[in-house]
């Protein structure tokens, strides 16, 4: 295959990837978008095969690799629970990072195959691009592994704050730059692997001080990193598909991080510097005696059955309890009784962007009943019941009213404007931000203490009576 044709085909696959992301602008076009993505990947792979013209042995090896990896990937995709998506994405990012390192290593040991020179005489520019790729890739790898472990609960979410960590990290960063310069000068394998080692260490050190709950931002950031690593290697290999894709993925991760930080009203820097959200802060104790109105499933069933409009506000607790299916049943029951039911989603409800939407979709909730904050917030005033299930921070009025609150300025869902606010959670404890929620003590609020799934099922049962 001529390189011109190959380059053109790589361009085509880059454009198909753009169309894949473009498809996600609406659920109806999203499936087609995903297909574009698969076709784009197919074109990239076939083009490379036609260009490399592998030997029979090589070809067999390639098929073997694709079969092993593809089989494992397909299995994981089929088996994974929707509630584990945050972990899964983190795990997948770590693989991309490691793959980038391995590709760079292969290029280091067989530069001829990549057309970047001969062993010991690799072009300087290629070496710089490659080291950038390998460093970012390695950081992505270990960083994502830590994020995975924290999200999956295999490692405590508590931030691990090493002494002098900023100094250590800066020193490692400087060392990295030095090593890259050294690599361009010496082309030594040892230096190459030193770069890998230092970057792996840096990846760990950068992520361990960040609290488990901040991991979603980290995952997005690492997503962005994996894009930049791919783009850097794209420059080395002179591959248009890699360059375009890298830029797309890089932008995507950066924008999602930005959206999350804005939704939490925190700065990206403060997230990255870490030390937040590991433990729930001690409950505020300002000496004022506060009373809480507690209710039962029966109370809730009565209130909702007699309502004309119910808005459901799901949060992280719904994901923990896997309550989405029970919730859907409840909504069906209400709708059958002629109650108008809508879902209100806060941009950072749950633990990853779009987390609630995917869970509701899994429970067959139609997406046109699910509304974003700005589209539904004015409707709470007309609602009889706001059914808050496992959400907490995203409803906290202190973000709106109390200037001294650490989450002041974060947009919230105005559930307190509804006639009655039903709060399903297990305790009066705080949520991710560790801040007491004054809503619990308000007149219009009824606390339904218990597991979200159990409580919702009980309400449905209570309606049967």
């Amino acid at each position: 295959m001529s390189v011109n044709l190959a380059s053109f085909l790589y361009l085509v696959s880059g454009v198909l990837f753009i169309m894949a992301l473009r498809g996600l602008s609406h659920p109806t076009t999203s499936r087609q978008g995903n297909t574009y993505g698969m076709v784009g990947m197919g074109i990239a792979i076939l083009t490379t095969l036609a260009l490399a013209r592998p030997t029979l042995g090589g070809f067999f090896l390639i098929l073997l690799g694709l079969a092993i990896g593809g089989g494992a990937g397909a299995l994981i995709a089929r088996r994974i629970a929707m509630t584990s998506m945050p972990q899964l994405v983190a795990a997948f990012h770590s693989l991309v990072g490691l793959a980038a390192v391995m590709v760079a290593a292969a290029a280091m040991y067989a530069p001829g195959s990549f057309g970047i020179g001969l062993v010991g005489a690799i072009h300087g520019q290629a070496l710089v691009e490659m080291s950038l790729g390998v460093a970012i890739g390695a950081i992505t790898f270990t960083g994502s592994v830590i994020a995975f472990l924290k999200l999956d609960g295999r490692m405590s979410g508590k931030p691990i704050l090493l002494p002098m960590r900023h100094v250590v990290n800066a020193a490692l960063g400087a060392l990295l730059v030095l090593l890259i310069i050294l690599l361009v000068g010496t082309q030594s394998y040892a230096v190459f692997w030193l770069i890998v080692l230092v970057s792996l260490a840096l990846g760990v050190l950068l992520i361990i001080p960040i609290g488990g709950a901040d991991m979603p931002v980290v995952v997005s950031m690492l997503n962005s990193y994996s894009g930049w690593a791919a783009a850097a290697l794209g420059f080395t290999l002179g591959n248009l598909a890699l360059i375009i894709t890298g830029a797309l993925v890089g932008s995507s991760g950066a924008i999602l991080s930005y959206i999350m930080c804005k939704g939490m009203n925190r700065s990206f820097i403060s997230v990255i510097l870490g030390g937040f959200g590991g433990e729930t802060a001690a409950a505020v104790d300002d000496g004022i005696e506060r009373t809480v109105k507690q209710g039962s499933a029966d109370d809730a069933a009565y209130l909702m059955a007699n309502a004309s409009k119910v808005i459901i506000v799901p949060g992280y607790g719904m994901a923990v309890a896997q309550a989405q299916h029970a919730l859907r049943e409840l909504a069906d029951r209400l709708k059958a009784n002629g109650v108008e039911v809508k879902y209100a989603i806060h941009p950072v409800a749950g633990r990853m962007p779009g987390h609630m939407n995917v869970l509701l979709a899994e429970a067959n909730v139609p997406y046109d009943e699910v509304f974003e904050l700005e589209d539904i917030n004015s409707e709470f005033a007309q609602a009889d019941v706001a059914y808050v299930i496992g959400a907490n921070d995203v409803t906290n009025p202190s973000a709106r009213d109390d200037k001294s609150s650490p989450i002041y300025g974060m947009p919230i869902l105005d559930v307190d404007k509804a006639k009655t606010c039903l709060f399903v959670k297990r305790s009066l404890g705080s949520g991710y931000a560790g801040i007491d929620n004054t809503l619990f003590y308000k007149d219009g609020t009824m606390m339904l203490l218990g597991d979200a799934k159990k409580m919702t099922e009980d309400i449905v049962k209570a309606m049967d009576h």
């Binding site: 753009i18 095969l49 090896l61 494992a72 693989l95 932008s251 995917v358 979709a361 139609p366």
Partner: protein, 135 residues
């Protein structure tokens, strides 16, 4: 006499070589001149940089246009497409002579394949769940 003729021959050789050099040089510089004006010798790096910069713009706009309800599938699909790094792995496995490079390439290939299949399939599974109200 013999010496003389050899010398002549050598002279001729020298001159021929010099001429050849001259011609070659000329050809080169002509080609260069043409290239300079036409941009033919623009380092491909500049083109790639342009492509990279424009792709960042496209990425910026295309991602902002993604509906928030699909942000989770977006994360999965970007993960899948970033595995296009597989092209590097294929080159390493397909062409490389060195055993080590082939090994590294093979690892990269397997990892990328996990991501490609895993990423696209899990996205498909998620997207299949998004349904409209049936009326």
């Amino acid at each position: 006499m013999e010496n003389n003729s050899v010398e002549t021959a050598l002279d001729q050789l020298d001159r021929a070589v010099a001429n050849l050099r001259l011609t070659l040089d000329n050809a080169d510089s002509v080609a260069d001149a043409v290239h300079v004006a036409s941009g033919g010798v623009v380092d491909p790096f500049v083109f790639r940089l342009a492509i990279f910069v424009l792709a960042i713009f496209v990425g910026y706009y295309v991602v902002w246009s993604v509906t928030p309800a699909l942000h989770t599938p977006l994360m999965a699909v970007t993960n899948a497409i970033s595995s296009v790094i597989v092209v590097g792995a294929l080159l390493a496995v397909g062409i490389s002579a060195s055993g080590l490079a082939t090994g590294f390439g093979f690892i990269a290939l397997v990892l990328a394949a996990v991501n490609i299949f895993g990423g696209f399939l899990v996205t498909q599974r998620m997207l299949a769940m998004y349904k409209k109200k049936e009326r």
